[in-house]
Amino acid sequence: MASYNTARHFNIDHLVGAIAPGRYADVVLLSDVDTVEIDRVYANGRLAAQTLDGDYGYTLPIPQIEYPAWSKNTMNVGKAVQAEDFVIKAPAGAATVTAALMEPFYFASTFPTGELPVTDGLIHADPANGISKVAVVDRYAGTGAVAKMFWKNVGPITPRSALASSQMHDIHNIWVLGNDDEAMALAANTVADMQGGWALVRDGEVVATVALDLAGLMTARPVAEVAAEVEALNAAADRMQWIGGGGLPERMRFAFLTASPWQWQLVAPYAGNPIGFVNVTTGETHPVIW
């Protein structure tokens, strides 16, 4: 149904979406629906892989895929972002401000708020009280545009630290979570320089990276190599302190979904788009501090 209804919606059900005469489909046969145990795979009408005695075997030659340069060159931030790009200024004369405080997987139609102190006209992350800064850096337009706000209950406590990633379902800009503007800029620039992936900055230095060079989401490098990088990232995160305990805040990767019913989202600046803190179901925007 998932494929048929979708194909019908887009008026291409005469081509795909069903297992029927005249339709295109690659087919996976499962031997156990609950565990999704794969028995065999048909691709282009030919048996491509099958399970024999618990081992997977490929029955067709595995094509060597040469990914074109454009698929590995997708980070168009346009400039190295600076610490100033992450600064959040208070209205003139204010001693405290009210801030919108998001957190990962906050689904409600409203958003939490809180009072934050102003220091020298600026508002800073306050990890001791569970407050971090979150920014989204646009990677498409080449203008280096940054949207930023405060989040709560997530982020590093370890000083001068930040985590950035281009896995940001489902727009895949670069999100940055941190407690220091310099660290956030470094993390975002590291991700951009790698053409995508993850970067963890601790005490002002990059301590772990995972390069995802295909579209900033994937890589064709060997599994063992990537797994070692991911493990090193997790291990580096485990050696830091995080708000609410725990290690690498993996949930952040899914915290920017713009599909309904995720409602209030931080959206990178785009020409002709609602930007900043946006209710993605209505298009309404809201200041991040006031």
């Binding site: 998932a2 979708t6 887009f10 565990t35 997708t74 990962p104 906050y106 979904l257």
Partner: protein
Amino acid sequence: MLALHPIAGFTAQTDGRGGVRVRALSAVLVATLALAFIGIAQPPSAHAHLLNMTEVDLLAQRDGSVQLTMNVDLSRSMAPPQAYYALASSLERPEHQALWQRIGDAVVLQNTVLSVGQQRIPLVFVKAENPDNNPQRDFSDPLIWPKVALTYRSQGQPVAADHALGITFTSGFFFEEPISVAMASELHPTRVNRWLVTDQKSPLFMGAAAGAPVDQPLNAQDLAAMLASGFAHVLPVGVDHLLFLLGLSLLIVSVKKLVAAVTLFTLAHCVSLLAASFKLIELPPLLIELAILGTIVWLGLRLLGWRLSSLWLRRANSIGQGPASLNYSAVFLFGLIHGLGFSNAFLAFAITENILGQLVAFNVGVELAQILFIVASSLLLHRLLLPRVGAARLHGLVGWLLLLLPSIWVTLLLMRSLA
């Protein structure tokens, strides 16, 4: 995934009919994902959580035991909803014991101990709770996943200086994924947090001694813990290593030569321990274990007076006595092999900071235990047993011991690796 980004101009790169097809498929993909998310991601409530993931806390406790608490959604395994609700509102009933045990049995908690290999730690069910007290309607709501909190405790006291804990959630029960595991200890501040899927092994976690503690430089306590850990890897748990040393101390009679051989052996295994810890050498653990057992078997053969003709086993430079003899290069080679075995144990601690300091402490612990054992076994063999039993019979006894025990281990090892 590329197809998800028409904004980024990915699809604009395609042309002709291929472009049309890619765009059509992109549309299908986008729509499928959107529908899937609308379908599954309707919020049950406004607090932060990741849908119905399994959340697990593993705590190494001061008393040496491990406490495991799991927040699990049983909606799918306990369907229909009425049955799950009935269960959730009568958690304390004895008839549910079999279910709790089945869940506990699907969790494989293991201790990795050098030489002994991995030991499974049985989990004993402690209690089941219903922390959110969801009303009955929640259980039939397709977008709410009530969770049950289950507590288990390890049988025995597996938390020790030389033990590293690992956990795997097997397909013996349906655990909703991701399985978010947090491993912590009452004895040190280092934590390990990972998202796992079914049958994926967690990284190892030292319950008793920490690697490098969070945000703190290496201190004397950690070094002492590593030293104790190195010591414990020889005495008492390094049975294979002990057997080798036993053979060595019997084979070499001259105290001077024994000191020379042990020094050489130590030097060799420092070299390979260092090299392997910095990943200059990487060999499969099974191969190393087999090689170590091979060295013991070889010593056994020498004790029984067997001679193999090879580069290493020539009689030149023999430092033993009579038919049982060996040369320094063989001792050095065997030292290298045994060092690799210790490096596996050391690497199992997943230490990534201050490696050298901790490695030296670990090594010093290993050497202290080794020297202690050699002195004791030399005294026992040469002073106490040899005069009473006679050289030939003692060599025979120890020789057969060195042949038989490793043979049994090899069989077990191979069975385990084939299983």
